[in-house]
């Protein structure tokens, strides 16, 4: 299987010399041919790219008073515009 090396190198932001292009193209072809055994392996859909799901920490809702304090800090609105202190 041929790898479109010029296109891939541009996306990967790697400048290749002519010699490197020739060598990497041949190596990529040989490596991917060697790995073709992977086709059709396993079950229909993979579960996750990681062997462990990331740990989700509990989401603790803030107290109502805290919410009000935060809302009070929002800039005042004048029509569709927000009024901010001078100097910002």
């Amino acid at each position: 299987m041929d790898v479109p090396l010029d296109h891939v190198a541009r996306i990967a932001r790697i400048a290749l010399t002519a010699e490197e292009k020739q060598r990497f193209a041949a190596e990529a072809r040989a490596i991917l041919a060697h790995f073709e055994a992977i086709e059709g392996a396993g079950r229909a859909e993979p579960a996750s790219p990681s062997p462990l799901a990331p740990r989700a920490d509990d989401v603790v809702p803030p107290e109502a008073a805290q919410v009000e304090a935060l809302v009070a800090q929002l800039p005042r609105k004048e029509g569709r515009r927000a009024k901010v202190p001078e100097g910002l």
Partner: protein
């Protein structure tokens, strides 16, 4: 000693002398194991004060260079310390230097560092194994008491096997990756090395545990008394499984050693059974395809702006990035190119998604195997250390060296390498256990040391 004769005076070395002598040895390193020496290091306070630690140069130690064996990072200095290193220093270990490695961990021989290859202390004409080449050589040559490497596909077990020392790849998530320069984030983790199993168990006791700075660290219950404390408690009737696929294509001396170990365990009362694990044949392609993909993504940050050498002050972004990335070595470029290619939407299903499916199948197969067996036994490497330069020009020949180690990283399970022992080039025996059961693996490794060498 005759009655009345005076005992000769004995001078005990204190931590200061021990560290000073270790630094002299490191400065005189002839194996190219160290890239940087911590010349002003002083013993840290703690129960292990005076003992020394070599740290692979892809783990951050504040104020010390962090090159990852790459010319791209030759002037980079770490701004913080990795959690694993922090926890070891808190026990009193002194970091005596940063060790050589294959560039960004891309290699299995220790020959792909931008700062030259590491030599195997057991035979300087041979490779020490990689990618934690300097860490393995440092412990084998007695330059440091312990070493901290990282294992993505066998990077600690391979040098342990080739250099005749002990290395453990802990369960994925047991040790924090904070401060480890990522290569393939779903496969890797910091991994301890020492001259014996007790040493790696002690390091694991210090390093293991949750870290809020690494969200995939496991919130597991600590082992009662610690890994080192429970090391001798392996059950007499250990159930050991040996996957037949792991006995194929071995060098004759490696197969002989493995079969002798199986016989010695059976003679000691263990139940040793060979069994089929056909999914193991998918491990090497699955590993490399996933590794390429994650590596290509991880390397995007080395663009000369966020990290890496910057081009001329007035250079444009594209010029800076191209100039910076041109300094990557051949294997790094090869992996970035392949990783970029196989994750393109036109071919992603054929390669990357197929590799993830294979990984699932392999992890499930290991899960089934551990319902029958306490641990799995296999050689660590299919052959002993090869000659410097023998495989470096052939990427497929180099990848083939990892065939027995990559499965553990794909499945996220613990695996350790312990020397078979005896004369000649070192050969490593590998034990694997269920995820989170690192103690079982350490106990089996310790059991082998006792079977081979006797002792309490």
């Amino acid at each position: 000693m005759a009655k009345g004769e005076k005992r000769p005076a004995v001078t005990l070395e204190g931590p200061d002398e021990r560290v000073a002598k270790a630094l002299e040895r490191v400065a005189a390193d002839t194996h190219n194991a160290f890239l940087h020496v911590a010349r002003d290091a002083r013993p840290a306070p703690g129960p292990w004060s005076g003992k020394t630690l070599a740290v692979k140069d892809n783990l951050a130690v504040r104020g010390m260079p962090l090159t990852c064996g790459s010319a791209v990072l030759k002037d980079h200095v770490a701004a913080y310390t990795a959690t694993a290193v922090e926890r070891l220093v808190a026990r009193g270990l002194t970091v005596v230097g940063k060790t050589n490695l294959d560039e960004f961990g891309c290699g299995s021989s220790g020959e792909r560092s931008a700062f030259g290859p590491t030599k195997n202390p057991r035979d300087p004409t041979r490779v020490p194994g990689g990618s934690s080449s300097g860490a393995g050589a440092a412990v084998a040559a007695g330059l440091a008491d312990f070493a901290l490497g990282s294992d993505t596909g066998g990077s600690v077990r391979c040098p342990a096997s080739f250099c005749g020392v002990v290395g453990l790849k802990p369960s994925y998530g047991l040790v924090s990756r904070y401060g480890l320069v990522d290569m393939a984030m779903s496969l890797e983790g910091p991994a301890p090395m020492a001259r014996d199993t007790r040493g790696v168990a002690l390091l694991l006791d210090a390093m293991a545990g949750p870290d809020p700075r690494d969200p995939v660290t496991l919130a597991t219950r600590p082992v009662e008394g610690g890994y080192a404390f429970q090391l001798e408690q392996a059950p007499k009737a250990l159930k050991i499984g040996v996957p037949r696929e792991f006995l194929q294509g071995l060098a004759p001396e490696v197969e002989r050693a493995t079969r002798e170990a199986m016989a010695r365990f059976a003679g000691d009362g263990a139940r040793v059974q060979e069994f089929d694990l056909p999914e193991a044949k998918l491990a090497l392609p699955a590993y490399y395809l996933i590794c390429y993909s994650e590596f290509a993504s991880a390397m995007q940050k080395f663009d000369g702006y966020r990290y890496g050498a910057r081009a001329a002050q007035d250079a444009k972004l594209a010029e800076t990035t191209a100039a910076n990335r041109a300094a990557f070595g051949a294997e790094v470029k090869r992996r970035i190119l392949l990783g970029t290619h196989i994750t393109m939407k036109e071919v992603k299903g054929k390669w990357y998604t197929a590799a993830l499916r294979a990984r699932d199948a392999l992890a499930e197969a290991f899960g089934r195997a551990f319902r029958e067996h306490d641990v799995l036994l296999a050689p660590t490497m299919p052959f002993p250390a090869f000659k410097l330069g023998e495989r470096v020009a052939d990427p497929l020949a180099m990848y083939a060296a990892d065939v027995l180690t990559v499965s553990a990283n794909l499945a996220g399970i613990p695996a350790g390498s312990v020397p078979f022992g005896g004369d000649g080039l070192p050969i490593g025996l590998q034990f694997m256990g269920p995820r989170g059961h690192d103690l079982q693996v350490l106990q089996a490794m310790r059991k082998w040391e006792k079977l081979k060498y006797g002792g309490p």
